[in-house]
């Protein structure tokens, strides 16, 4: 359990971090709650997501919904993180869950916090998370007809594929100085040409 505390984060807070951690641990289980980077963080299963948000709002006083977003955690799935805040007690709470990559479905939080509507729309279009029961799950920022989920790490950045990375991917790997036979590391967003593109499968 990480115990690094960011004092600035707790300034003005009327609850001591350990007291809040104890309260959260008592409600959600000691294993789920921890302090990470100075913020009390709760990890829950997707099935308990709505109950957790509801408990944070009703029992822990976190009535202010700050934001909700996705995190691509590669083989571990797609993380969904929500940040809530208590305006009365001035404490923060970070709620996290994780859904599988290929079946990214999570019940919508709009029934608990109505402000989650646009956050979930953005997370849906950027990470491909389907928020079941969302009243209007259409793309928020992407232009019409956009295909793909651009903030997933396996999204192919076509410009990077077409044009060589101008800077250094690794130290000593700038384009001009590289020995021709040495394998060049690929920047994020560019798949291995052996498995993607016109040369796929050529070994």
């Amino acid at each position: 359990m990480a115990r690094r505390l960011c004092t600035r984060r707790w300034s003005g807070c009327r609850v001591a971090p350990d007291d809040l951690l104890a309260a959260v641990g008592a409600r959600f289980g000691d294993d789920a709650a921890q302090i990470e980077y100075g913020t009390v963080t709760v990890d829950v299963e997707p099935a308990a997501w709505i109950d957790t948000l509801k408990a944070a709002r009703d029992e822990l006083g976190c009535t202010f919904f700050d934001w909700l977003c996705g995190v691509d955690e590669l083989d571990d799935g797609i993380g969904v993180v929500a940040h809530v805040y208590s305006r009365a007690e001035h404490h923060h709470l970070l709620l996290r869950t994780r859904v599988p990559r290929h079946a990214a479905v999570l019940p919508t939080a709009t029934s608990i916090f109505r402000g989650a509507n646009w956050h979930e729309r953005e997370t849906a279009e950027m990470f491909g998370v389907d928020f079941a029961g969302h009243p209007n799950l259409v793309p928020l920022l992407l232009p019409e007809g956009f295909e793909g989920t651009p903030l997933r790490k396996d999204f192919v950045l076509a410009s990077r594929v077409a044009k060589q990375w101008p800077g250094e991917v690794d130290p000593g790997q700038s384009a001009g100085e590289l020995a021709p036979n040495r394998r060049r590391n690929l920047p994020p967003g560019v798949p291995d040409p052996k498995v993607w593109g016109p040369g796929a499968g050529t070994g």
Partner: protein, 194 residues
Amino acid sequence: MGLISLPDPKVGPGLLPQVPEPVKFLLNWGRQYSLWVFNFGLACCAIEFIATSMSGHDFIRLGVIPFAPSPRQADLMVVSGTVTDKMAPAIQRLYEQMPEPKYVISFGACSNCGGPYWDSYCVTKGVDQIIPVDVYVPGCPPRPEALLHGIMRLQEKIAHESRGGQWDPTPIGSAEQGGQEAVYPSVVRVPRGA
């Protein structure tokens, strides 16, 4: 008194090259120093544009009049900032609303070529992919002096313009027109049939 046969009025290169040189000069001189500008501010470059329009650099002294009420009353559009694929249709539509003759200055690295966001999934790689650009101003963001320089390059271009060329049906950048030509190390202009 009998009927007088008058030529049919028409627009195009057939008639306008006959305009005498002094009249052409006068028309170009007038247009050169009354550029109502429409600022398409999209990012931090727009702040530099505003700085250029304020008293410190004051481009009104060059005859550039900012804050045109709508693109329909503007002669010059300055695209300053990051053009995204979502915004691109709006830029094209507002450009099409501008009356001829119209000019475009692409201000800053982002609207020139995508800038630091050249590899983004949502950024258009240069506003010249959707509308013709007369002057490119490089920089990230460029200093107001760079915009003043760009405006002066545009005015030089207008001064040497033949009005007939405005309606030249040859596509912009085609081989007949010689494509893009670099006239100055820092500013590239695309001929629009001048």
